[in-house]
Symmetry: D2
């Protein structure tokens, strides 16, 4: 059974009754619920727990980590970010949601600023599938329509995705690369755009479907990890000097 | 005229007479020489200069930066690495050579460990062109043969290259992705494998040709930089909330 | 001096006075004009000329071929398509415009149906730059706005582009991958979306800038072509059988 | 249960006792055996059956098609190739083995010549994993060693793979991109190099593991297929003309 940990900074939910009304158990609670229903062995972790809830034991027992953060990216400790990064390079899948584009973990895995345009106007977003053979699109229609969302617009300062799965249309005139896969070391990373805290985006069945599919796609590969460093020759070297 | 800065840690040349004999003016001196001959406005910078020779003035007047480092990656100051990174994201080209795979600047732009297998046995390397339409291959034969080189072997822990240009065959039985392009922000990055300090690799005409071609390819694009942050709508938003 | 041939089926211009008014010398005439002004050695060729104007002599003296077709894709002779394909694989650049997505030459180079959604409603198109380091974006603002265009919408059935340069937003709610690069053999291919015949799109300065940049980018690499077939070993084989 | 069809031209087995000794039930029989053992619903089809064994009924009931051909590529009927292509674009996975690089189906899906260097000297091949997070590498060591194989060398005239999984080292001095994935329409394609008919390559457990993994990876996505053609607007168009 796949082991999933849903991490959330869990701050908007404490401060803003609008958010708390939409997500009474926190964004992490809602996400964990539909992942459990899908049959994954799911737990949650939040910023204010010791070690942000991401102890060695938790990380070593996580196949796929889901990440939501926004207000408090800078409060996430560098040593925890470093541990998460090492786990990704070791094979753990990572699903970065919405404002997680600016999290330390995403930026350090991308190597770019991860900056973008944004606007909170509750406008319509239409998320189009552009890679119809990809397992992350299983069960989805041609597009996902979200009635009210924050806008994220290009240029999105990310490396060219290994695979571009979704592209968003926004009512206000922008477009965005909304579903992007990357490989890093032995691990797989998926960025998925929607999910502003003041809208019920994670209650949307098709958004849930994407996250469920992404968890399956991101699971670690079972094999010995590559060996690095000094290596004896596998064949005789004749003319070496 | 393209402005090129060749950066070298310049330590092997001080310590090891073998290296000094091959590169009497330092690895940077040899590389700068053939770049000047090609008509680029070329200067050099080294680790032990103030700010490692990479002052704001130098960086702001550099179109393409060539980087060679090995022994002293850890001595490169984080604030200089950060400035170089910002210049790359702003458009400066970056050519990372050989052991530069473990430099701070390459690792932070890649987001991975950049680790690999290696062996100093002076074995034969044959660098095959696999992307024959790429301008970095201009003027090259089907492969470049280097009689004696250090081996670098897979797995090379880098993100999937945007373009894979060269693949190496090694006498001892390994292969390696030897020429890799990446885009980062407004800048372009090229990693090129050969160049162990105890062999005369940078005197090899075809190796020089690759670096010259890469400098031309990596030059900045002339246009306004993207604007990030809060954005007014370009179209009327009807149903927003 | 780069040698460019602009190919056009040149049928709408004969049948439809609206098109003839916008392009009195044909779409090919307008495109050739701004390419000449840029300094390219430019000629035109059209469907109704012998061999569609693409004789061996013309093709062998073309560095980059620009292609516009729509009504009469099926009238383009298979043997001419085959010759163009061989020239692309040999190094000639190919710029495919708008409805050329359904041309025989584009489909045979892509291997897919190249199908898409479309609508002629004269709606607004906004073409966003998503690869700001790419030379095809030189001199461009963040987006190109076209007041009236035909809509092309996803899913666009193409292989994943080697590089995605532009993404379009359409007033009617769709998005599209509008600028896509591919490498095929020794040649480079660029698909660029806008250019419906009843709108003055190729008089738009920024659209012209994209095509000029693309011609420069697509020029052939100067080197010996790869050798295929039976190959003698470069190293001694010990245990072969 | 995944439905797999293994297609083989099955000619070498009829003509050459060496091949018949290695593969008494044909190459297809050996491949089908280990796929059945893995639990796939597996059948075989060969060139000399009516419609090459690839009737509409067979194709419509195939999730993943495995293809081995060599001597008789030209005997495969164009209309069958066209049907296979349409099934791939509709979602069927396709695994192309070894000399299948020159099959009509692979060439039409790639859009290039698919040419390469080759040599039959029974030399050693070492197939290195370069994408350790990819499910096709599950259960594999760092490299697969094959004592005697035909050599295939670069330049391999294919489009840049979406994902490069394996790279081969050959005793005679060449390298090759040995494991390449592509997406085409709703389907996934994997090319895997080894498998010359006079060596027992498909009895090699790790080679079998790659093919098993590839079948799993290539299975169709369950969703409605994209709709193409004329499309009504999803949003009101104001200024259209």
């Amino acid at each position: 059974m796949l082991k999933v940990t849903v991490w959330n900074e869990n701050r908007h939910e404490q401060k803003n009754p609008v958010v708390r009304d939409i997500y009474p158990q926190g964004i992490h609670g809602t996400i964990a619920d539909f992942l459990k229903t899908e049959g994954f062995d799911t737990r949650t972790a939040t910023l204010d727990e010791p070690e942000h809830g991401l102890t060695d034991d938790v990380l070593n027992n996580t196949d796929v980590l889901v990440w939501w953060g926004h207000l408090a990216h800078s409060e996430v400790k560098d040593e925890i970010v470093q541990k998460v990064k090492e786990r990704v390079l070791d094979g753990m899948g990572l699903i970065v949601l919405h404002s997680g584009h600016f999290s330390k973990i995403f930026k350090t895995l991308m190597g770019t600023s991860c900056d973008l345009k944004w606007r909170e106007a509750g406008e319509k977003e239409r998320i189009w599938v552009v890679s119809p053979s990809h397992p992350i699109t299983e069960g989805l229609p041609e597009y996902i329509e979200i009635e009210n969302e924050e806008m994220y617009g290009e240029h999105f300062d990310i490396p060219q995705p290994d695979e571009l799965i979704f592209m968003s249309w926004f009512e206000g005139g922008e477009v965005f690369r909304s579903g992007c896969t990357y490989k890093r070391g032995n691990g797989k990373v998926f960025y998925f755009r929607p999910g502003h805290e003041t809208y019920p985006t994670y209650h949307h069945k098709q958004v849930q479907r994407v996250i469920i599919n992404a968890v399956k796609w991101a699971k670690p590969v079972k094999r010995e990890r590559p060996v690095y460093g000094n290596a004896k020759p596998l064949e005789e070297i004749k003319g070496g000097k």
